[in-house]
Every structure is written in structure tokens, then in C-alpha cells.
């Protein structure tokens, strides 16, 4: 038990492990970026209530909300190649990381889609009318007036999603992806000293989560369209 933990081993691990944070960041950034774009699209489609598509989207969102991302990732990893195979597309050789990213994009597309929808609905109807009244088109009104306000409303929820997205990257290793945690597993198992590696991983996750929260908090203050005084 005496050699369960040693500072020296911890210091040694840091340079070997840290570069793999970039893979983890890549999952977060690609997942959130495309997830946000998909989410905006989902929100627009939901609000327009197009028959059939609306039902399909509801099922998609319900599935993404009702199952864990770990299982979604596995379903996509094992199921998507089978599905696409029916259309003669072979994706078996694809990097596992791609499946992780597809999962993140689809998951956050659904979650953010719901949040953006609610945020868009929270913008008073008069804002749209004011846009129309000065001669803006639907898309000009939506993208220049409504969406910026909706995104601001959704910012606190978005920050929480960003932190959860970062946390959920920790499932990628179960597929064999060598990201931060994946590399920690291989390093730790090889040396037989998993504890130091895991503690370092935990420390990094906690610090970055806090920084993310702080970042979003500052972002909220910055982009408040002068509203912060009213809220106080």
C-alpha cells in the first residue's frame, strides 16, 4: 500500500498525458460547434411544425434525452455501418473518433435544439413584428433580431451543456479512442500505477470545468445587451 501513490510518478505522467487533451478538446469543439448548428436547424424546423418531420424530430429528441450518451455512442458505432451498408456505403474503416463525434453532434443537436426552441419562443412576438415592420425579410428578422436574443437567453443553459459535453468525453475511451482518459488508461495499465494517472485526469477535468463555467459567466456579462442592470 505504501507505494500506491507517489508524487514523482505523478510528475512523470503529466508530460506524457497532457498532449492527449487535444483529442478531448477536439471532441468537445467539433461536437459543440456542429451540435449548435444542428440545434439551430432543429429549433427552426420544430417551430415551423412541418408535418411528419415534426414527429420524427420529436422522436429523435426524445431518444437523445432518454438514453445515455454511452449507449447512443455504441448504437451508432455498431449500428450506423449496418444502416449505411444497406445503401451500399461502407464506413467500417472509419476512425473510431468519427463515431464519437457523430454521437456528440447528434446528441447536442437534440439537446440544444430543444433549448434554442424554448429560447426563441421566449423572444416576444413584437420583436418579429418590429423586424417585419421595417421591411426585413423572415430570414433577416430571424438571424439578425430573434436568434441573437434567443442565444443570449440560452447562454446559461448552453454553458451547462458545454461543461457536460466536456465531462461526457470521458465515455470515448470505452470505444477504444485514445483521448485524454483513453491515454491515461493505457499509460496507467502499462506502468501498473493507475491511481496517479486517474488523479491527474480528475484534477484536469475539474479545473477545466471550472474555467469553462467562469468563461461562460463572463460571456453572459459581456453579451447582455445592457440587461445586467435590470436583472440585479
Amino acid at each position: 500500500m505504501a507505494n500506491l501513490f507517489s508524487w514523482e510518478r505523478l510528475w512523470n505522467i503529466i508530460p506524457q498525458l497532457s498532449p492527449y487533451l487535444l483529442i478531448t478538446f477536439q471532441i468537445v469543439i467539433i461536437g459543440l460547434l456542429f451540435g449548435t448548428l444542428l440545434g439551430i436547424l432543429v429549433a427552426i424546423l420544430l417551430l415551423n411544425k412541418i408535418p411528419i418531420l415534426h414527429q420524427l424530430l420529436s422522436v429523435y429528441i426524445s431518444f437523445m434525452r432518454g438514453t445515455s450518451m454511452l449507449i447512443q455512442m455504441m448504437v451508432i458505432y455498431y449500428g450506423l455501418p449496418l444502416l449505411l451498408n444497406n445503401f451500399g456505403i461502407d464506413i467500417n474503416g472509419l476512425d473510431k473518433l468519427v463515431f464519437v463525434e457523430i454521437t456528440f453532434i447528434l446528441n447536442y443537436g437534440a439537446f440544444l435544439g430543444e433549448e434554442f426552441r424554448a429560447a426563441i419562443l421566449a423572444v416576444p412576438k413584437e420583436q418579429t413584428e418590429a423586424g417585419y415592420s421595417i421591411g426585413l425579410t423572415w430570414s433577416q428578422t430571424f438571424f439578425r433580431i430573434i436568434l441573437p436574443q434567443a442565444l443570449l437567453t440560452a447562454l446559461p443553459a448552453y454553458g451547462a451543456e458545454a461543461v457536460s459535453c466536456f465531462h461526457l468525453t470521458s465515455i470515448a475511451f470505452t470505444l477504444g479512442v485514445v483521448d485524454f482518459l483513453g491515454r491515461a488508461n493505457t499509460l496507467g495499465s502499462a506502468s501498473g500505477h493507475l491511481l496517479e494517472t486517474y488523479l491527474y485526469v480528475a484534477f484536469v477535468y475539474i479545473v477545466i470545468s471550472m474555467l469553462l463555467r467562469l468563461g461562460f459567466y463572463l460571456l453572459e456579462k459581456k453579451f447582455s445587451f445592457g440587461r445586467e442592470g435590470v436583472n440585479n
Partner: protein, 250 residues
């Protein structure tokens, strides 16, 4: 010249506008009066396509559009010739005072940015809001917001400005100053259709008063005709309730 013909509009089973027609000459200030629920606001909203009428046509100068079937292109053309002043100001919450004014000029009317800013500064000054140029609406009082709302409409240089109860969301002590600004707009010779409950404003500024009730135009004429010599029983009843008797028959 603006002409609205045979406008009908129902919300579900409730018929809000039953065949309303109205002609407004260039430079006219038309004040629409009537009890709440008489359809006056709906009429205004139909003119700007904020509400889709069930029937009716709208002519602005040389352009005629069907209020029910107008294409989105026609709709946009009409909207670019009209401006709307909202009861709750309707300022874009994500834009500063000056951006609220330049938005329509730059994005909708494709006016060069520098020109738009110069124009916006001019109207801001005209409504006495120059010092609030870079303020977001949430930092402005209701009266200040409505000044910007009026400035936004005036800057667009429209064929007609539609005012939808522009003072009814304001604190009583602010009503006068906003009416003052609207009077200034009238003096510029801009065609206006104003829905309001402010009788003294109507008497003083309107070139034509229209009294609506139950989705129809009951009576219209000069303020003098409508206020002092109303022909219809419904008009008389409405005025009796609103204007104190001693003012009524001066």
C-alpha cells in the same frame, strides 16, 4: 394616397373586421377612434401584413396588393413603404438606439452604412435622443424607447407611418411629451394613421377622424364634424363616455 378597400378579418368565429374601407390622402393625419375590440388595431396590423386579412386590397400610390393573397415579395414591398410604431415600442432588444434605426436602412433598404448612420443621427437628434445613441433599449425609459421607435419609423422615410396606440403603455406623465413628438412628425407632412385614445390629440392634429365600432367604420369626417356634430348614435354614446360634457359642446 393610401386606399384600403373591403378588408375583412376573423379570428376563429369572431369577426373582427367586417368590410372596412378607408382612403387617406398624402399628408393626411387620420386618427382612428373606437372602443377596445372595435378592430382598429387589427386594421392597422393588416395594412402592414402583421396580420393576414381574409379579404381586401391595399393601394399605396401606384402599387395595389391583395391583403389576403399578396406574395411575400409584394408583402415586403408594401412593408418597405410603410412604418409601424408599436404600443410596447418594439425596439430590437439586441440593438442599441442607433442600431435600431440603421437596421431597416441598411439591411432592408440597402442604404450605404455611412449614409444610414448620418440619417439615424439626424433623426435621433430630431427626437432629442442624441445622448442615448449607444444605449440598449433595456437601459431606456418607456418614453425614451418610444422616441426611438418613432425615430426609427421616420428615418425610413415611408409613404405612411402607422401608430398603434403609441402612448397607452406609457406612464401618464410621459404621454404629453410623446404626443408632442408625434405632432412634430405630423408637421413634417408625413402621412399618418394613428390609433389612439387621446381625444385632445385627435382634435388638435387629425385632418380626419374615423370612428370604428364592432368591426365597421361607423362614421368619419373632420375632427369638428365627428366630435361636435356626430351623426350616428354609437358615436355619440362613445364620445359621451370619453369626453366630459362641458368640453363636448364648446
Amino acid at each position: 394616397m393610401i386606399e384600403i378597400k373591403n378588408v375583412k378579418k376573423s379570428f376563429g368565429k369572431h369577426e373582427v373586421l367586417k368590410d372596412v374601407s378607408l382612403k387617406v390622402d398624402t399628408g393626411d393625419v387620420v386618427v382612428i377612434l373606437g372602443p377596445s375590440g372595435s378592430g382598429k388595431t387589427t386594421l392597422l396590423r393588416c395594412i402592414n401584413f402583421l396580420e393576414r386579412a381574409d379579404e381586401g386590397t391595399l393601394t399605396i400610390e401606384d402599387q395595389t396588393a391583395d391583403l389576403h393573397t399578396a406574395s411575400s415579395k409584394e408583402k415586403l414591398q408594401i412593408r418597405k413603404r410603410t412604418a409601424f410604431v408599436f404600443q410596447n415600442y418594439g425596439l430590437f432588444q439586441n440593438k442599441t438606439a442607433i442600431q435600431n434605426i440603421t437596421e431597416g436602412l441598411i439591411t432592408a433598404r440597402k442604404i450605404p452604412k455611412a449614409e444610414a448612420i448620418a440619417k439615424a443621427e439626424e433623426v435621433l437628434d430630431w427626437v432629442g435622443m442624441s445622448d442615448k445613441r449607444d444605449y440598449y433599449p433595456s437601459k431606456l425609459s418607456g418614453g425614451q424607447q418610444q422616441r426611438i421607435g418613432i425615430a426609427r419609423a421616420v428615418a425610413l422615410d415611408p409613404d405612411v407611418i402607422l401608430f398603434d396606440e403609441p402612448t397607452s403603455a406609457l406612464d401618464p406623465e410621459l404621454v404629453g411629451e410623446i404626443l408632442g413628438v408625434i405632432k412634430k412628425v405630423a408637421k413634417k407632412g408625413i402621412t399618418m394613421i394613428v390609433v389612439t385614445h387621446e381625444m385632445s390629440f385627435a382634435q388638435e392634429v387629425a385632418s380626419k377622424v374615423v370612428f370604428m365600432d364592432g368591426g365597421v367604420v361607423v362614421e368619419s369626417g373632420t375632427p369638428r364634424d365627428v366630435f361636435y356634430y356626430p351623426k350616428e348614435e354609437r358615436t355619440k354614446k362613445f364620445l359621451e363616455r370619453i369626453i366630459p360634457q362641458d368640453q363636448y359642446f364648446i
